[in-house]
Amino acid sequence: MAYSDKVMDHFSNPRNVGSLDKNSSNVGTGIVGAPECGDVMKLQIEVDDDGQIVDAKFKTFGCGSAIAASSLATEWLKGKDLDHATELKNTEIASELSLPPVKIHCSVLAEDAIKAAIQDWKRKNGK
């Protein structure tokens, strides 16, 4: 059976791992967790004056699925504006695709983290 290449690539070579300066007013930081498994994730976005996300970084010490999901999420985020960022979804339509299952909480962790980061930026910038 063939894996979704994109997903596998994001696990073996996760993109955008690292940190941004959390004290900068352009940066929104979200730290979320999944108590079911004890995984913690930090996701940071850098937003320019036009409200566009120019950079995104994540750090997680969690399970492989969460890592892949976060990596995909940060790739997807860059170049989006804040209003559309929360529309993150897996839009690949799978026909006859068979994949290993995901832990349920992992797939929502990335979404939670993005929402938290955006909320933090908005709070910092009085929005």
């Binding site: 730290i31 108590p35 004890g38 913690v40």
Partner: protein, 218 residues
């Protein structure tokens, strides 16, 4: 012998009609009860629904019930009976494993008392996740530079945190026993218990990583 839990009417053995102290197995004729495989852990072990249980008593009851239900003593029975004993034994082992560990017992009790699951309520004390994230990074750095003293320090901090959380949880359950009739108080307590238990989950995960790191060179 033990307090009867706050459950419905005691079950009667369908073979000899005598009352059963646990739905697992009849005290008189040792027939396995029909609901044994689906009873909750406390009921299964014949223990009251409390947090502060004596671990020696939990163990004693586990051994007694194991003797009566283990599939080894039914190797000559029909496949159906053997399957029943297999399931009951599995349920008994799971019940013991959960109730024997304080954090697991606390979490399980919360679900029985109607508290929210960790999926429905992820809240933790303010700033807690930030601290966890920071400690994760410290542990990762200590591992990279093989700083044994630092690893040991982090482990100790986590252990202290773990023990403190469990003490707090114990106190909350005591308050729960006392306030069980007042719904508003109970809801608050259950909410706080959920928060503390969520925190324990993160600490336990990090603590096991730190302990593994500590002994990596033994």
């Amino acid at each position: 012998m033990t307090e009867t839990h706050d459950q419905a009417t005691p079950v009667k053995c369908r073979h000899c009609d005598k009352p059963m102290s646990t739905p697992v197995v009849c005290d008189y004729c040792h027939a396995v009860g029909p609901d044994a495989a689906v009873a909750d852990h406390f009921t299964l072990l014949g223990l009251p629904r409390r947090f502060d249980l004596d671990t020696a008593e939990i163990h004693r009851r586990f051994l007694v019930l194991s003797r009566h239900t283990h599939p080894d003593f039914h190797a000559d029975d029909t496949p159906e009976v053997q399957q029943l004993h297999l399931q009951v034994s599995a349920a008994l082992n799971e019940a013991y494993r959960t109730l024997n560990d304080s954090a697991a017992r606390a979490a399980y009790l919360l679900t029985l008392f109607g508290g929210k699951s960790s999926a429905d309520d992820k809240s933790v004390p303010d700033g807690f996740l930030g601290t966890m994230m920071m400690m994760q990074e410290e542990l990762a750095d200590a591992l990279d530079s093989d700083d044994r003293a630092e690893i040991a320090r982090i482990t100790e901090v986590l252990q202290t945190q773990h023990d403190g959380l469990l003490r707090r949880i114990g106190m909350l359950y005591e308050q729960y026993q006392e306030s069980v009739s007042c719904k508003a108080v109970v809801d608050d307590l259950l909410g706080e218990l959920r928060q503390q238990l969520n925190a324990v989950s993160y600490v336990k995960k990090l603590l096991s990583q730190a302990t593994d790191a500590e002994h990596a060179h033994d």
